[in-house]
């Protein structure tokens, strides 16, 4: 599936759900956020802090053979932030750099989550996407 196909699927899944079920779906994503591999868990200094999020989240982007790999670290007491990260992981991990860079900056606003979590909180997801794209851009040009 291409990134834009995954995006459509995610939008469909969230929008088809009631407001309450959108929260439950976000919770499922939150629980499925992959754990940080040891090479980053042991080196938190390599991770970039996403300052725009209410709760602490750190991310790291690798680009290998033009494919993007994402790593996140966020505490269990920040499930919303973990959920946002996990959605982006589902959408972007192991995808071609060019497709990641082409993702709509407003993607976070297309899931119907504003009604469930409030637009203010959604800013965190926008910021994560922004930082992911910036890191991909830097790494592709290296």
């Amino acid at each position: 599936m291409t990134v834009s196909e995954t995006a459509l699927e995610l939008q469909g899944d969230f929008k088809a759900a009631t407001i309450k079920d959108r929260l439950n779906l976000l919770l499922e994503f939150s629980e499925n956020l992959p754990t940080l591999p040891a090479r980053y868990a042991d080196h938190p200094d390599l991770l970039e802090r996403v300052e725009e999020c209410q709760s602490p989240i750190y991310l790291f982007v690798e680009v290998q053979d033009e494919r993007v790999h994402l790593f996140f670290s966020a505490p269990p007491e920040a499930p919303t932030t973990r959920g946002f990260a996990s959605i982006l992981h589902e959408l972007l991990d192991d995808e071609p750099a060019a497709e990641v860079l082409a993702v709509d900056d407003d993607f976070a606003d297309t899931l119907g989550l504003a009604e469930a979590v409030s637009p203010l909180r959604l800013r965190g997801m926008r910021a994560m996407l922004f930082r992911i794209k910036r890191q991909v851009r830097e790494k592709v040009s290296e």
Partner: protein, 300 residues
């Protein structure tokens, strides 16, 4: 019929010991028919991860705020919220949440704008429950819809607007933000997004007591003596004075408002919920930068 107060010894030192409960007390009362437990968090999903059995969720953003106007819900909105939460006018409400009860205190303050009489906080916040060895649950709380009267919000007694602050100069103002926000180095607390205000600094003459000084490492409130030493001893605030507290959007200052009003028994404390996101963007109001309070301008 009021639910009995928690006789915990620490609480007896406070001006209003009845506004706090311990986890042990709560565990014994969660099934009382006159009591409703409310969780109110910064993280909108934390309740879903697991909550105190029987607790209902009230979210500051999606439930307590009006979704269009920058204001709280009105009489109809509050009535609807209470009814779907199973809360009647004489229900004892115990609120708890994450982050040392910031949002719980904020919710309590909104309940008080509507004059709900018996609202208490779980001392030690969400953490107190699990630290005491009690389990959280994901079981859906079965709510029996209640009947709640239509009560007009009182915006005078516990709430201050910007014009009230301008008229208040010469009386004590309490800034409970971080030292960096107070001095004007940042417009938001450290580790949080820089957002929401065009100028950085504090309201002239405001004294700085970061909110977290009121709590211990385990998120419980400090004792009466410790709190008196900070607010009255060190900062010279007097319980008989008229005090306005503020922060960024009014949530952390609700926490300090709670401390002054209920734990120290200040007669007249208002929370300026417009706070720095409003004051720091208002055209033509005075601000002060740096670590000193600065002089109060003439009231207007």
């Amino acid at each position: 019929m009021t639910v009995a107060h928690d006789p915990d010894a620490k609480f007896q030192g406070y001006a209003h010991p009845e506004v706090l409960v311990t986890a042990q007390w709560l565990a014994q009362h969660i099934h009382d028919s006159d009591l409703v437990v409310v969780e109110s968090d910064e993280d909108v999903l934390l309740y879903e991860v697991g909550h105190i059995p029987t607790a209902v969720k009230i979210d500051w953003h999606t439930d307590l705020n009006d979704q269009i106007t920058r204001d709280y819900v009105d009489a109809q909105g509050f009535q609807a919220l209470m009814q779907r939460s199973g809360i009647s006018r004489d229900t004892t409400v115990v609120i708890y949440g994450d982050k040392s009860n910031w949002w719980a205190a904020y919710a309590l303050w909104v309940f008080k704008l509507f004059g709900h009489e018996d609202v208490r906080l779980l001392d030690g916040a969400r953490e107190a429950w699990t630290s005491a060895g009690f389990a959280l649950t994901r079981d859906e709380t079965a709510v029996i819809e209640s009947s709640y009267p239509l009560v007009e919000r009182d915006d005078k007694t516990l709430r201050a607007f910007r014009d009230d602050v301008l008229a208040h100069f010469g009386n004590p103002i309490l800034d409970i933000r971080s030292p960096q926000e107070y001095s004007g180095e940042r417009t938001h607390m450290p580790d949080y997004p820089q957002e929401g205000a065009l100028r950085a600094g504090h309201i002239p003459s405001a004294v700085s007591v970061p909110w977290a000084r009121a709590v211990n490492a385990d998120q419980t409130f400090k004792t009466r003596e410790e709190l008196t030493a900070i607010y009255e001893g060190e900062k010279g605030l007097k319980p008989s004075e008229d005090v306005i507290a503020y922060c960024r959007i009014g949530e952390r200052s609700s926490h300090s408002w709670f401390v002054l009003k209920y734990l120290l028994g200040f007669d007249n404390v208002r929370n300026y919920d417009g706070s720095w996101t409003e004051w720091g963007s208002l055209v033509g109001v005075p601000i002060v930068k740096g670590d000193e309070p600065g002089l109060a301008p003439a009231p207007r």
